[in-house]
């Protein structure tokens, strides 16, 4: 398995096959763990960081977490490959940009990714398409157990698992869903819903997590605190009370658009598709924005000659590192914008 292979397809989480996938792109569980026998990463010198990386890489392989996992030495990878991993949500931007010894282990279908030496010694992630949070949490617990059998985790009788950042202390678990909320945006209700979500102690972020802007109406919604609540509490609260509400708002907004503003909706949706099929140069931001509207159009069966699978692949493959990997050369912004437009036209079978 090589990184180059990744540029030809999307991971399982973008397959749009899970439950409620019209609104929920994907579900994510993340677990932060640290070794108890060594200091937190920020307190280690490079030799010790290297030792930790080597040890974790070996133990992850030995734990036999998934078939055909592959490991990327992020410190040794080129800038384009690191960017590629970020675009695929397999590592964080921070992990890509750091300087110390570090890596990531990824399962064949990209549903599992274990960052070694990110903020914590191990950051595990399970990503699944649609609303499948319980499944993701069960999978991450299984992986956690496999690793715990081989590693000495930093654990405190009262606080639980210790983590580099205090907000993760406790279960170390964060769950999040990636939501597509174009109708709420269109009806002007989005701000209200996001405010309500924040009141419910949910954190709302952009497509690439902390510090990123929401683009193309995609929002990552996650639980805010982990301390003092069990894993089950976190997932239940999130799944049974919060996320369903947001999904419901979005679905009502979509039906409202269909009933009361069908022409305006079609106008936006078909203009977007037409631009994607005709542009000769297109930036990332505009691509996101237009694909988002086309996705809405496909979900509402206004557009019938494009599949969600194609849209999802375009979201992924039109990003800068992917484009450059596909063309096997470095490109400046202008070249990328032209290559992006050409790629989209070809994939959408522009006339």
């Amino acid at each position: 398995m090589s990184l180059a292979e990744l540029t030809t397809r999307a991971g399982e989480w973008l397959s749009s096959e899970g439950p409620l996938h019209d609104v929920v792109i994907s579900s994510r569980a993340r677990l932060a763990r640290n070794l108890g026998s060594v200091p937190f990463l920020s307190k280690c010198g490079e030799p010790l960081q290297r030792e930790i990386e080597t040890r974790l890489r070996r133990e992850i392989r030995a734990a036999n977490i998934a078939e055909r996992m592959f490991y990327v030495d992020v410190a040794g990878a080129g800038e384009l490959d690191r960017q590629l991993l970020v675009e695929r949500h397999l590592i964080s931007r921070q992990h890509a940009d750091a300087q110390h010894p570090r890596g990531v282990a990824v399962s064949q279908d990209e549903s599992v990714a274990l960052m070694v030496n990110e903020e914590d010694h191990v950051r595990m992630q399970v990503l699944r398409s649609g609303l499948r949070l319980r499944e993701a949490v069960a999978e991450i617990s299984r992986i956690d157990d496999l690793l715990e059998a081989r590693l000495d985790y930093a654990f405190h009788g009262r606080y639980g698992y210790l983590t580099a950042c205090p907000t993760n202390v406790g279960t170390g678990l964060r769950v999040s869903v990636m939501l597509h909320l174009p109708a709420l945006k269109m009806t002007g209700e989005l701000e209200k819903v996001l405010r309500a979500a924040r009141d419910m102690r949910l954190a709302i972020r952009g497509l690439y997590g902390e510090g990123t802007e929401a683009s193309g109406d995609f929002f990552q919604v996650s639980n805010q605190t982990t301390l003092g609540r069990s894993e089950e509490q976190i997932v239940d609260e999130f799944l049974e009370q919060m996320v369903p509400k947001v999904i419901d708002y979005e679905r009502r907004a979509r039906q409202g658009l269909l009933k009361q503003r069908a022409t305006g909706l079609d106008d936006k949706v078909f203009r977007s598709l037409a631009l994607l099929r005709s542009a000769r140069t297109m930036g990332s931001e505009e691509t996101m924005y237009l694909l988002s509207l086309v996705r809405l159009g496909v979900n509402l069966e206004r557009i019938r000659d494009v599949s969600i699978k194609t849209i999802n692949e375009l979201f992924l493959l039109t990003q800068p590192a992917h484009l450059q990997r596909i063309h096997r050369r470095e490109m400046d912004g202008r070249e990328r914008a032209e290559a992006r437009a050409a790629f989209i036209r070809q994939r959408l079978h522009a006339p």
Copy 2:
């Protein structure tokens, strides 16, 4: 001949068949004349205005200017019909909005229009497609002679023909061309060229003459003064020195775009066509803007499946009064925007 028939086609001046029609949409000659036996219009009471209107209507008919001319009693026409005449450049907005007795005589192909009781007693206009100003002036002189044989024009031995507005005194002749300058706009050179044109004593106006904004990169360029110069001087100066320069600038700009910015040009042109073929609602301004770019694309042979004739018809028929005439009912702005988009999609054979 009725006004309703006009909504199915464009006048000769929009046929895009004259010389240099890639840049020059049309050529116009206009002559202002007043009767010597009665005061200027603004000095007449309504009974006298009515008398003048009746007399001129009769004399114009008797002068046998063109085959199958028709006369519209503008004072008696509905608002929509008056607006229709403005959209077709057959009467001025002022003439449409006035309150006194007035009318317009129009030739079958709309190349000749004689407004009765506009600012002057008679305002004659000859419109021709492409750069055919000498032809237009010859035709307007012929019409002027036919009328002068039957009417007593206000004429002063020293000043020439007297007109309501002093800027028209002398020959009473104004010539203008409608230019399409999208490439100059795109390259950012437009302001420079327009400034140079103003320095050459040319007046630059929008699509509907005095006081209107240029929309869709169309500019009406006319001579500023008529006093002290003969008809021939006016036309020669305009045709041989001024207009060719502007045409040359625009053509150079187009070739420059093709050579140096072909992708950016195609991007604009194909996006515009795609939007016209896909929108479900579209305002007048946007329509003008997009049609202008598509016209450029067709002229430069980037777009090959749309004819200039279709573009020109769309410019005309998508205007508010035309749309309502075609649909045989009054429509508010929103209905018009939807009807406009549907009409354009149908005419452009959207997939």
